[in-house]
């Protein structure tokens, strides 16, 4: 037995529930990995609307903003992350 492809798991989970925060978080990561950080960020922002305390999401948002050279937004996301995840 092998672990199914991550993208397959994401699609299955989103078919069941389009607002599944776990699936959306991973989808955001897949979009960033595929070279589309702006799409990843948009999806991640949706995750944070569904669950503002989603573990690790603020630090991932910080990373994407840094990749895009958006220092102010990155710092802001980091502060939120510190508040949520400690």
């Amino acid at each position: 037995m092998r672990r199914p492809e991550t993208s397959v798991l994401v699609n299955e989970a989103l078919r069941r529930n389009g607002d599944d925060p776990d699936a959306l978080f991973v989808l955001a990561a897949l979009r960033v990995q595929d070279g589309h950080p702006e799409e990843g960020l948009k999806i991640l922002d949706h995750v944070l609307v569904i669950d503002p305390d989603y573990p690790g999401a603020w630090f991932f948002k910080e990373k994407i903003h840094r990749m895009r050279g958006e220092a102010w937004a990155a710092d802001s996301a980091r502060r939120q992350g510190e508040a949520v995840d400690g």
């Binding site: 672990r3 991550t6 798991l9 776990d22 991973v26 990561a29 897949l30 573990p55 690790g56 991932f60």
Partner: protein, 179 residues
Amino acid sequence: MTADVVKLKVCMAGEAMVGKTSLIRRYVLQEYDDRYTATLGTKITKKVLAAKDPKTGRDVSVSLILWDIMGTPTLRDLLKEAYYHGAQGVLGVADLTRKETLRELDAWYRSIQTVAGPIPTYVVVNKADLVDEAALDEATVKTFCEGRGWPWSSTSAKTGKGVEEAFVALVQGVLAAQG
């Protein structure tokens, strides 16, 4: 006198299907399910346990926050800050029946270390119940772990063997390392 409360963030590490989620379920809920469900995203489980601070000998109440993450190496580095920020300990999990899962712990540790620094790491070789399918022997695991300064033990999330002891040992290691 009430015990001091110590909050500890511990991250699970290891390849897919080694049993990270099952170990947490066994430790926290005393449950096991044979069906495999791949972890998607991040799952946090909390457990409070009593411990003794190895440095002071005082009783402490440990609020253990276990971060269970996807065992997907391709996303490991992209998500390392999300997962490992503030981590104080690592439970590295290898699968007794898959030799490469032990070797791969090096890559997981490297990724964690870049974010959290050189934090205490404890290794479990899980699936001890599948001894007939063993692909790792004790000498190999011992050499691997001792060379990296990682204490280790065998566990079976299925039977519960060694699970609680491993988490407690990791907590003790983390408490001992606290500044």
